[in-house]
Symmetry: C2
Subunit: 320 residues, 2 copies
């Protein structure tokens, strides 16, 4: 059975209590939303390198996806986002207090899933999980703080997206390895593999927001430019531009009267003139290559890691 | 050293990271607020019945107080409460998003504290902790749901306050016992002891809100009546009243035009006529007595539990 079907069955089989009304229904709603389930997929793939009995790893897979959806519930509330996976967000469909309390409960359920497993290195897994969760909160806070700053460096930005996005992918891969009692060096290599894939994926998201094909990307092109979001592209453009261009770029981003299409076109033209697209694609390729090198270092026959190579490739193949 | 000093030193010695700005400062602020630290005190007292090395239990004491303050942060936000322990609440001093994210981080820190301990029955302690946390979320949700209902029974109310308040006291006492590797029967008796104390304490709070001495109670007398809060007193009054009195009581509570002092005086007069104060004091005494019986059943010389008897007595001695 493909991993996606295995996970769908597992999530479909989850049953939360029916009472009290209003507490568990939003949790089922959030988890039923589906999504790509990248993190539990990655966890099971890493586990599968060393052990075929996927059911052993399942509690950890449920934990990481439930935790991830907890962050989405609270992030959507903090960002006032009204839609998620084509459906109203929990704080819109219910209310803010429901999103807070059901979101808190999901964090508790995530821990509880992890406690249900019986693994020789369970304590190490629990510590990795809490450390990762704390780092993700830190990443979210840096992201908030960056909104108020105009001097964010590339290094700071990479560290922010590492914390906010990559750490949970790394955690997923390493949890899978630890659940299978893999060699410590392999578990760490798999963490770094997923971490690098996560960085590349986030930079690709920044790139596609400007240079993607709207029919493929699924989001409006130029959304980050309209919001003045500090992306890898903008941070590097501000750093590379000469003084007049930097002034023009800053003025454009601050201009709320300008037509949005004009703003997007002008900012994109500046990016083009500064070589930002090439720079970004090179950075993506660099993180992607670093990720693949981690797989080469595993204590396994090379072909075993082929599914993980394909996983990374499928995430990072998009240039449009 | 008295337990209160021991705990104050322990909380004073806590150091959270300084970065990212805005994430950990509200956590320190919340934990620095002090309060009575009932839950870690109870945990250390239960532990101290079986083991003198308090430092062994400290991570669990820090965990339970950090978790409790997490619930206060999120509850204050959900209730739009502006003050806590004489200071502005976190969502007032910072903002709602800070209360959400720093509150989430406190829940993670609470787990992390518990993971730092090395106890033979750590897995059992972690499971008890997550089960209790889930039950507390359920209690909070029942409390919210009851606001919309007029037919809440005494049994439903007792179950709600058990979940919302008592479970964490029970959890604290049992965690202390488990950290000391106490006999299972003792750990369960200590859970029930704290649970019964919690029920008595909540009913006392309901009682004092109407019949307390404002100089001693610390809150405005009649606050629950003004808010129309479904307390033990109101639920029993609605159940005991004849039809005309019930109509009068319901009308009074719904009347927002009436002078508050008049409303409080009239509702209190109805409570008096129905024997509600005596009924409530009897219920408090009954839970208190049940709590003390649990201590008598411990596998220890009777004098050992004296500090816990005094703890319960000091919480429940107030009749004004």
């Amino acid at each position: 059975m493909p991993l996606s079907d295995y996970l769908r069955s597992a999530f479909d089989a989850l049953r939360f209590p029916s009472r009290p009304e209003g507490l568990y229904e939003p949790i089922s709603y959030a988890l039923d939303g589906g999504g790509k389930r990248l993190r539990p997929t990655l966890l099971l793939m890493a586990f599968g390198l060393y052990d075929d009995h996927l059911d052993t790893a399942l509690p950890a897979a449920l934990a990481i996806e439930t935790y991830h959806n907890h962050t989405l519930l609270h992030d959507d509330l903090m960002d006032h986002a009204s839609m998620r996976r084509g459906r109203p967000t929990v704080h819109v469909k219910w209310d803010a207090n429901t999103a807070i309390l059901s979101g808190d409960t999901m964090l508790i359920e995530a821990f509880d899933f992890l406690l249900q497993g019986s693994w020789p290195r369970k304590d190490e897994m629990l510590r990795l999980f809490t450390r990762s969760m704390r780092e993700i909160c830190e990443g979210q806070q840096y992201d908030v703080n960056f909104e108020q700053r105009t001097d964010v460096t590339e290094a700071e930005y990479i560290e922010m997206i590492r914390l906010k996005t990559s750490v949970l992918l790394g955690c997923a891969a390493k949890l899978g390895a630890l659940a299978a009692d893999a060699p410590e060096a392999d578990a760490d290599a798999l963490y770094r593999f997923a971490e690098q894939v996560g960085l590349a994926f986030q930079l690709q998201d920044d790139y596609l927001d400007v240079y993607g094909d709207p029919a493929v990307f699924g989001k409006r092109i130029g959304g980050d430019i309209v919001c003045g979001k500090k992306t890898f592209l903008l941070i590097n453009a501000l750093q590379r531009a000469d003084a007049p261009t930097r002034s023009r770029l800053t003025a454009l981003l601050a201009d709320t009267a300008i037509d949005e299409a004009t703003k997007i076109a002008e900012v994109t033209a500046i990016y083009d003139s500064l070589g930002i697209p090439t720079l970004t694609l090179e950075a993506i390729d660099s993180y992607y290559a670093a990720a693949l090198r981690e797989l080469d270092a595993l204590s396994l026959p090379a072909h075993k890691a082929e599914p993980l190579r394909q996983f990374a490739g499928s995430l990072l193949a998009r240039r449009k």
